[in-house]
């Protein structure tokens, strides 16, 4: 896999991407803030939502068992999968039992996390993503770059060219025309499909309900037309009651797109009854895949994430490097916690390090997840050898010793100052200097002052005759 810094370089060199990211994130940020300003008692609502999630996580075992019972009462089949492989196999087995050939999917981050599409295709099935952005991503053989806006990295010309190439339709760069083409193509897929797969925005413990939110209506198609509906849900995505659900829906829509409510909220409670249209079978797969591990420690709070994407839009890092640079399913500040949390820190330690800890994410998170605190935690548990070069490690070790002895500290800093002034021989260093080359790569280095503050202060005291 590519290296983080290579992905960053690639993103920073892409002018189109920079432009698109800037436009998209600033629009989403302003919509969010307008939507929240019209919400009475928003702060209290956030507190309650936060508490609700914490209570669920405190008693996750009980809640999962209750949820399973409620699901079964509604006539849904419940499956448990401890990791990606098991989850994929469960879905494949369900499909094979009913001789499923074609599958339509509504956007699911979890399915991307476990690479479900690859597994299904390998098992000989045809899989079609139906969220417009995800459909385009799939046509392009690419990956989504934003939770809410998967093709934030593409221009309308890109989309037009892609559809022209892959779908043999005349080129257009009109979003309206392109959307109509997708509607027509995907309509046929919905009607042909034997199975629909969705994620879940929320699972309601008390009622065994699966809540799905979209603006396009693809989740409704996927859960209405095929005769089998499979839900993939992370074990952390529970809320207790309908009342809770109602509150989370308010927060989710406002945080994600600045709407009061997304266009379609579907609450699924088992298969269709009697002659009504709707799937004959509903299967719910409860997926762990590393979540239970995250629960047992400092990252537990991040399991309260409702995937609204608000933290991405305000993050100055995300805004500049985009989603692909993060290298995995979950991007942005929360992704920098979830990815190392689920996949292991050893391979992903650069993500928590790539933050200024500016706190913008924490400020907008509807659940007030303390993202900076967890990024710091991850930096602390990153093995020293991995997180810093030997010179930096030595420097910090020396720093700790020296800074602990004021006299030595003063002598050392005075010496350092003189050295730097000598190297610069004037007030600015502009060339690459050992240890400072990563600073001077993008900016000049101001050499220390001739006289330190403490010296000035002491001279002043002497002069004042104190």
């Amino acid at each position: 896999m590519s290296h983080f810094s290579d992905r960053v370089d690639k993103a920073l060199a892409d002018d189109n991407l920079s432009e698109a990211l800037k436009k998209a994130t600033s629009q989403l940020v302003s919509r969010r803030s307008t939507a929240f300003s019209s919400l009475e008692d928003a702060e209290n609502l956030r507190d309650i939502a936060r508490n609700t999630k914490m209570k669920i996580l405190h008693n996750l075992e009980d809640n999962l068992l209750k949820f399973e019972k409620s699901l079964q009462k509604n006539g849904s089949h419940v499956h448990w999968a401890k990791d990606a492989e098991e989850a994929n196999n469960v879905v494949i087995e369900i499909a094979q039992k009913q001789a499923v050939k074609k599958i339509v999917k509504s956007k699911s981050m979890l399915s991307e996390e476990i690479h479900l599409n690859t597994a299904l295709i390998k098992a000989g099935m045809q899989v079609v993503e139906t969220d417009l952005g995800e459909y385009i991503v799939q046509l392009a053989g690419d990956k989504p770059s934003h939770i809410i806006a998967p093709i934030i990295h593409m221009t309308r010309e890109d989309v037009g060219n892609l559809m022209h190439d892959r779908l043999s339709v005349p080129f257009s760069d009109e979003p309206e025309v392109l959307t109509r083409i997708a509607r027509r193509k995907l309509r046929q897929e919905f009607l042909d499909a034997d199975m629909g797969i969705t994620g879940a925005n929320f699972g309601v413990v008390e009622t065994g309900s699966i809540c799905l939110v979209t603006n396009e209506g693809n989740a409704r198609m996927v859960t209405t037309l095929p005769k089998i509906h499979v839900v993939l849900i992370g074990i952390e995505k529970l809320v207790a009651t309908f009342e809770d659900l109602n509150r989370f829906l308010k927060l989710l829509a406002r945080s994600a797109t600045g709407q009061k409510l997304s266009v379609y909220t579907s609450i699924i409670q088992g298969p269709g009854k009697g002659t009504e249209t709707g799937p004959e079978e509903v299967h719910v797969v409860l997926v762990d895949n590393g979540r239970s591990g995250m629960l047992g420690g400092d990252l537990a709070e991040s399991l309260a994430c409702i995937r609204c994407g608000a933290c991405l839009n305000v993050c100055p890092i995300y805004k500049n490097i985009g989603g692909h640079a993060y290298g995995d399913t979950y991007a942005g500040p929360i992704g920098s916690i979830i990815t190392p949390g689920l996949r292991g820190l050893a391979q992903w330690h650069e993500l928590p390090a790539a933050s200024t800890l500016c706190g913008a994410c924490k400020e907008v998170c509807p659940i007030r997840i303390d993202i900076p605190k967890m990024l710091l935690k991850l930096r602390q548990v990153t093995p020293p050898k991995v997180k810093a070069s030997i010179s930096l490690r030595m420097a910090i070790k020396c720093f700790a010793v020296i800074a602990g002895i004021p006299k030595v500290y003063k002598g050392f800093t005075a010496f350092g100052s003189r050295l730097l002034r000598f190297l610069g021989s004037k007030s600015w260093l502009t060339n690459n200097i050992p240890l400072l080359d990563r600073w001077t790569k993008v900016r000049d280095f101001k050499t220390p002052a001739k006289k330190s503050f403490q010296r000035m202060w002491q001279e002043k005291i002497a002069k004042d005759g104190k």
Partner: protein
């Protein structure tokens, strides 16, 4: 398969049990639900609020004084287009009479035929004034497809089914809600902004939503 699955369940629950003790979760904070209680609007405001939200969402709204006017409006809206409808006895205002001698499809028809209809016609179990949402509880004779497949969706709303918040509706009709196999909450026409954030209506669901509010 059953055996393997129950084993996974055990594994997951054991891990969760062990982890939730070690979880470093923030303390539960003081909270108050006072400010969140439904705004008990006077009945007369419900309709106004609902209309305002519909306007913002681009939902075409007609308010009619009596059953006759509702049916007349519906006739005008349908013109000679084909219709996918809820079963006639599930429609309010005897609106079924308007459908006589028309091209009408129902849930018993093949889904490909259903999908060919120009207009979807439904009643609605609740309209939520706070958000401009239609709540449709699925059930026999109330196909989910009618509000989903055609490019235009016409919903007939009885004034007595307007609630201010979703909670108000859930409180009042808890039993019906819990028994439905699918609750669809529809807030405006189908939309996307995936391509350069430019708003486009009618991606998969209806691009046009029309409501006729009767007495």
């Amino acid at each position: 398969m059953e055996n393997k699955l129950s084993k996974s369940k055990e594994v997951i629950l054991t891990r969760v049990r062990e982890s939730q003790v070690l979880a470093r979760l923030p303390e539960i904070m003081p909270e108050s639900t006072d400010g969140l209680k439904s705004h008990h609007q006077p009945e007369s405001d419900l309709l106004n609020s609902l209309q305002k939200e519909f306007d913002l969402l681009g939902v075409e709204t007609y308010v009619e004084k009596n059953q006759k006017a509702v049916c007349k409006r519906l006739r005008n809206l349908l013109q000679d287009k084909s219709v996918l409808s809820w079963n006639l006895d599930n429609l309010p205002y005897d609106a079924g009479t308007v459908l006589q001698s028309r091209n009408v499809y129902f849930e018993r028809d093949d889904k490909i035929i259903q999908a060919s209809a120009d207009i979807g016609l439904t009643g609605c179990d609740a309209a939520i004034a706070e958000t401009g949402s239609l709540v449709l509880l699925s059930g026999e004779g109330k196909p989910r497809t009618a509000s989903l497949l055609p490019f235009e969706h016409i919903a007939l709303i009885r004034q007595s089914d307007i609630y201010f918040t979703m909670s108000d509706f859930f409180d009042k009709k808890g039993k019906e809600v819990s028994q439905a196999s699918c609750i669809d909450i529809i807030t405006g026409p189908s939309r996307t902004a995936d391509i350069e954030l430019s708003l486009t209506l009618g991606v998969h669901g209806p691009g046009k939503v029309i409501v006729v509010i009767g007495p």
